[in-house]
Amino acid sequence: MLGKSLPEMSDTFIEIDHVTFGYDASRTILNDLSLRFERGKVTAVLGGSGCGKTTLLRLIAGVHAANSGRVIVDGEVVNVRDRAQLYRLRRRLGMLFQFGALFTDLTVYENVAFPMREMTDLPEALIHDLVLMKLNAVGLRGASHLKISEVSGGMARRIALARAIALDPELIMYDEPFAGLDLISMGVAAKLIRTLNDVTGATSLVISHDVPECMAISDWVILLAGGGRLVAQGTPAELMASTDPEVRQFVRGEPDGPVKFHYPAREMADDFGLGVQP
């Protein structure tokens, strides 16, 4: 390690270059957004619901094509029409879906073995060992025989994580990994995300609106607002100490601030008929 230079800010694994995207003409979800995700780091993308975080993941994975701008992964521009390129990209990618997205007709073992069986020619004996190793990494080696219907939400999330890392991906994306978990499970998930990243040298992207957990494990935090607008980015410490009203409201969870509490409505007097004197 000595003599190796510190990783520079320009070692970008993913670059979002002036990307605009909307599912249809009426709703633009991302508007001229530019971001960078550093190799080997855990980057968190925070923001309220509907600010395009999940859409960002889909664009990176090549599920949709940006209306304008480019998505660049490890130096290659993602071309949605190039099936061979998408296949190569997704081979290096592992994704943890919001509620696991486990295959309900398979057992725990078969779920984790699925990517190995589908995308490699490894013999079953080797797959057996690999599956158990991955399950061991998430602490569920003893649960390999269970059916998906028998596992709890937290366990499902961990199994999905084991499946996501089945092929030792270079890029792991987490879509709301902490949503709906109890405190213990959240702690476990956070620990796993951080440890995996450090041990494998992968790049991790965590989409979440859970501030405390993300701050604890991330190297870099990006805060988005509605319309995919970049509000702020920096180290966790920088964001926690920020004086920007929007950032403060979000990281402290204040009910009212730049993001209003009240949905736009008429004057209260009008609604309650108070202004009219009989």
Binding site: A61, V63, L86, Y87, R90, R91, L93, M95, F97, Q98, F99, A101, L102, F103, T104, F114, P115, E118, M119
Partner: protein
């Protein structure tokens, strides 16, 4: 002017719906060779779709056989033609009731189960997970189920007819007292294997394609909400049933026209 625009927009959206369905069907067919290579998946689906429908099909077949025999007897005995009971029941089943009733039951039982399963898989992001693992969900999930439906329907239909004929035999020979030898020999003389039984098999295969494709399409295109899935299963039954009945009319006219 506005009304015209509304009608126009509605018509366009109907055409778009059919277009999407046609494209979906084409993609389904294209995915079949890959599914054939993973025949184990098809076998699992035949179990889920075919085997699990056996009970209702066999029970319905027997019931229809009993009732047909009784009703036809009441009608035929007035013309002194009660001996032809077996023939009448056989032809009714093998040409029409076997394929059609089986298809309607299939749409209700297997069709809705397919729609719900695919819809829930979509809602639970399992389809997206497959795509992100660079696996074509149409090859892995849809085509095996399509093939399974295609294989199961004719088998179920002929089982329906066979059980119906046996049920009619029980009623005719056991209950009414028609001569058993006559019961079978009149059928053997009057039912043509290729024209009657064969056409019935062709019909049930066509119905199998229709019911399975509709069920898969509705599941795939449904909104990922509880109401969406419920609505989609209803649509599966309605569309499948109407399509089967319409197709039955066309096929019957083609196959059984008196030349």
């Amino acid at each position: 002017m506005n009304v015209l625009a509304l009608i126009g927009a509605r018509a366009l959206s109907v055409f778009r719906g059919w277009g999407r369905a046609a494209l979906f069907f084409r993609d389904l067919l294209l995915a079949v060779p890959a599914a054939l290579r993973r025949f184990g998946l098809v076998v699992t689906q035949i179990h889920a779709i075919g085997n699990r429908s056996l009970v209702i099909i066999l029970a319905s077949g027997a019931a229809v056989g009993f009732v047909l025999a009784l009703q036809m007897y009441y009608a035929l005995v007035n013309y002194g033609a009660a001996e032809s009971l077996g023939l009448v029941v056989n032809l009714s089943l093998v040409r029409e009731l076997g394929p059609v009733v089986t298809a309607l039951l299939f749409a209700g039982r297997a069709g809705t189960s397919l729609t719900a399963e695919i819809g829930l898989m979509k809602a639970g992001e399992q389809i997206a997970a497959l795509e992100l693992m660079a696996i074509d969900p149409r090859q892995r999930v849809l085509a095996p189920r399509f093939l399974a439906g295609l294989v199961s329907m004719p088998l179920l239909a002929i089982l329906f007819s066979a059980v119906g004929i046996l049920g009619a035999w029980l009623v005719a020979v056991g209950l009414i007292g028609i001569d058993p030898g006559n019961f079978w020999s009149i059928q053997q003389n009057g039912v043509d294997v290729w024209r009657d039984v064969g056409n019935g098999v062709v019909k049930s295969t066509v119905f199998g394609i229709i019911c399975t494709s509709v069920a898969l399409y509705q599941g795939y295109e449904t909104e990922a909400t509880p109401e969406g899935v419920a609505y989609a299963t209803t649509r599966t039954v309605v569309i499948s049933s109407l399509a089967v009945l319409g197709m039955d009319f066309i096929l019957t006219a083609l196959m059984f026209s008196t030349r």
